[in-house]
Amino acid sequence: MRAVLFLLPVALVLGGVFAGLFLYAARQGQFDDLDDPPERILRD
């Protein structure tokens, strides 16, 4: 059980890194237009 003391923070930090990446991406406007990019590949 003691491993949890190590694993819990590791899991949270890892999760937090991904949440942070998501926040960064959303702030950069990556999710502002979800409709056009899928069609873009068909056009070039």
């Binding site: 991904f18 959303a26 070039d44």
Partner: protein, 746 residues
């Protein structure tokens, strides 16, 4: 171009071609010599467009680009922008007509970039007032989702400990971790619900956000207290609930924004720039910089940027945008012209009389829009909210009182909290937006765009469909009905250079019959009079005969006639039969002569006709139907249809019609067809059914869950299972909308 109809990929190409071969040829080049060789920067309004500073020193902004008609328009615009010095990134969305630009402010400016776009023949304009992207909701959803997943993992561990036993120290660690994760969810992610509830309270409306805010407060407060006391709380339910509700809200706002954007870009008609003649030179200025008294030039194919009076030149102006009539009007010195009208051919100089909001077009649009905005209507779920909240509070109070008497304070608090937790109308709040998004999507995929879910739902109540004639039941452009092959061949040879609707009809018919087009030489088009030219070595004249007739004359006195008429849309009869099949009464409502109206009605299969109706008479006819107990849908495309569109319960505009009709309408048919109306009715019915079923399900869930909680059968684990079940039920209900519409189509 050889042997092809005048079909251009976009306004830019069409304008360019029209300018080069049009009547204003020499004039165009004379003006061009006066222009600087590079596209000039557009000053003025562009400096006030908000830009977003990025950390790397670049700035970004979004613009609307009107006139993008095809994928290559997008491609060209992007490439040209990317090659402009200073531009870091340029993307143009075909779906929304939005350009996202990122550039180095030290090298270039937004005015220059807009000038580059304008030079391609497209019309950039500032975004103006627009709903901000859902970035804020997206961020909150991301944080809530992250917290929810981690809390659920921790909760699963704690619940397992109920059976296997767990060291209180470990359980405490997990509970505290969950509390830390849940705190931003309750305090930041759930903020939209608190502000919604508060705004509702201030306006003395009980919004559905209120019981949600109440549940979130109780959940979090209980979570804190339970963690301090070393007991299990409902923090996992809290995080999941907020996540689901935010997802629903995001979906709703995306759907609404897309519908509004689609309608607005169809409506955007006035060009963003004008060519102003000042002191012997010509400069390109944004429309906002124009003042009454300025003189602006317009060439063939251009849209007029302002209202005014023609002071020089002549040409044919198409006012389809304003009146919905495709027939061009001849204008010359002294005639009034309005913004948004298209100069079909010729070249004119206009002295500006009114600009911007003062123009006829904008005033009409604003007036009609105002009458259409009757304020936000409460959804069915909002109407349930007051008594839902009251019932929850009463049940909670009774539960508290009864258990206080039977078992004492601890049990009473636990059961009351359980009641308040499971009473959270999460599923109820999701029921409308999910089904509405599915319904709006199903209608949009079939070519009918709705401004709001209300309009779509109102469609289900419609009992009578009133259709305008020109441009709605008919295509609104002339089609050749009778002409000899030889006549048509010569006429097409003369008309192949013209963009006039009649010319297009003649050329299109010749191509349809497989007649090789001869090349007319020495062709001269005289606005409002006709065309002269030489075909097969003989001179010919094309003149207007009577209404719907064009005469081909030669010097020897031969006289051949080509008859044209506005044809019924190919899918009109089928659509009208389908509307009847859905139990709707169909009426043709037109300002045209009764004979014409009846002929069209017969072809389209309509047996009720109200003919000779002026715009005011259309409104009173609709009001008459309404007072007779009908719910009326009116579909039309002209400016004069605006009042009728506003008077009807549901107004549907044709996307190719007048901009003002698009602005005032509840829905817009995106394509050039009538068929999407039927799909709209089917989507409305499926959507309504899904919402009703979802509301029944979620209310039944709430009743059951609250009863169980009041009896003491609900603990954190039961709540964690029940809540996603109820939301899943609602999501499943909404997901069946598309399938239902598809089944009806078969």
């Amino acid at each position: 171009m050889e042997g092809e109809a005048d079909a251009f990929c976009c306004g830019g190409c069409e304008a360019a071609a029209a300018i080069i071969r049009g009547a204003g040829l020499d004039r165009y080049y004379a003006e061009r010599a006066a222009c600087p060789p590079r596209p000039e920067a557009l000053a003025g309004a562009w400096t006030s467009v908000p830009v977003e500073a990025r950390r790397d020193g670049t700035v970004a902004a979004r613009l609307v680009v009107d006139g993008l008609r095809c994928a290559s328009c997008v491609w060209v615009t992007e490439r040209v922008l990317e090659r402009t010095p200073g531009v870091v990134e340029a993307t143009v969305s075909y779906a929304t007509g939005r350009a996202t630009l990122r550039w180095d402010p030290a090298v270039t400016g937004l005015g220059t970039l807009a000038g580059r776009i304008a030079a391609l023949g497209y019309r950039p304009r500032p975004l103006g007032e627009e709903a901000a992207p859902d970035r804020d909701l997206m961020l909150r959803l991301g944080v809530a989702g992250f917290a929810a997943m981690n809390i659920m993992l921790l909760a699963a561990t704690i619940y397992t400990g109920w059976w296997d036993g767990m060291d209180p120290a470990w359980a405490g660690l997990f509970r505290w971790t969950a509390l830390v994760l849940a705190t931003p969810v309750a305090l930041w992610c759930a903020a939209p619900f608190f502000s919604g509830a508060w705004a509702g309270l201030r306006h003395r409306v009980l919004h559905l956000d209120l019981p949600i805010a109440l549940a979130v407060t109780v959940l979090y407060a209980h979570g804190v207290a339970a963690t301090l006391a070393g007991r299990d709380g409902y923090l996992d339910s809290l995080a999941m609930l907020v996540t689901l509700l935010l997802a629903g809200r995001l979906l709703e706002s995306r759907g609404r924004r897309r519908a509004a954007e689609a309608a607005m870009s169809l409506a955007a008609a006035v060009p963003g720039t004008a060519r102003r003649a000042a002191g012997g030179r010509l400069e390109t200025v944004p429309v906002e910089a124009l003042r009454p008294g300025d003189r602006i030039d317009a060439g063939a194919g251009e849209e007029l940027a302002a209202d005014g009076v023609v002071v020089e030149g002549s040409g044919q102006v198409r006012m389809a945008l304003l009146t919905g009539e495709s027939e061009p009007v001849v204008v010359a010195r002294g005639d009034r012209v309005v913004a948004g009208a298209v100069l079909q051919d010729g070249a004119i100089t206009v002295e500006v009389r009114a600009v911007g909001r003062e123009t006829v077009l904008q005033q009409m649009a604003a007036g009609l829009q105002h009458s259409a905005d009757s304020g936000l209507r409460p959804t069915a779920a909002d109407r349930i909210a007051p008594w839902f909240t009251a019932a929850t509070l009463v049940v909670a109070a009774v539960t508290c009182a009864v258990w206080l008497g039977l078992r004492g304070v601890d049990t009473a608090v636990a059961r009351t909290v359980a009641v308040l937790v499971v009473a959270c109308p999460c599923a109820l709040a999701l029921s409308q937006p999910l089904a509405a998004a599915a319904g709006l999507g199903a209608a949009a995929r079939r070519g009918l765009l709705f401004r709001s879910a209300h309009a779509l739902l109102d469609l289900d109540d419609v009992t009578l469909v009133a259709l305008d004639k020109t441009g709605t039941v008919t295509a609104g452009v002339p089609v050749v009905t009778t002409a000899g092959d030889a006549t048509l061949r010569v006429a097409a040879g003369l008309e192949r250079y013209s963009t006039h609707p009649i010319a297009r009809a003649i050329v299109a018919e010749a191509i349809r019959r497989g007649i090789p087009l001869p090349r007319g030489t020495g062709v001269r088009e005289q606005a409002g009079v006709g065309v002269t030219g030489v075909v097969d070595g003989r001179p010919w004249r094309l003149r207007r005969g009577g209404p719907g007739e064009v005469l081909l004359l030669d010097d020897a006195g031969s006289r051949e006639s080509i008859r044209l008429a506005d044809a019924v849309r190919p899918d009109a009869a089928q659509t009208i039969a389908a509307l009847r099949g859905l139990g709707r009464r169909v009426v043709l409502l037109t300002g045209d002569h009764p004979d014409v109206a009846r002929r069209i009605a017969r072809t389209a299969g309509v047996d009720e006709v109200v003919a000779g109706a002026e715009p005011a008479a259309k409104v009173s006819a609709i009001q008459g139907f309404r007072s007779a107990g009908h719910r009326v849908l009116f579909a039309g495309d002209g400016l004069n249809d605006g009042p009728a569109l506003a008077a009807a319960d549901v107004g549907v505009a044709m996307g190719h019609g007048a901009a003002s009709s698009v602005l005032v309408a509840d829905g817009v048919i995106a394509g050039d067809a009538l068929g999407p109306l039927v799909a709209g009715f089917q989507a409305a019915r499926a959507c309504r059914a899904a919402i009703r079923a979802n509301q029944r399900r979620s209310l039944a869930y709430n009743a059951l869950a609250v009863t169980a909680a009041a009896l003491g059968w609900v603990n954190p684990l039961v709540a964690a299972v029940l809540m996603p079940l109820s939301s899943g039920m609602v999501i499943w209900g909404a997901s069946r909308v598309e399938a239902r519409v598809r089944r009806r189509e078969e």
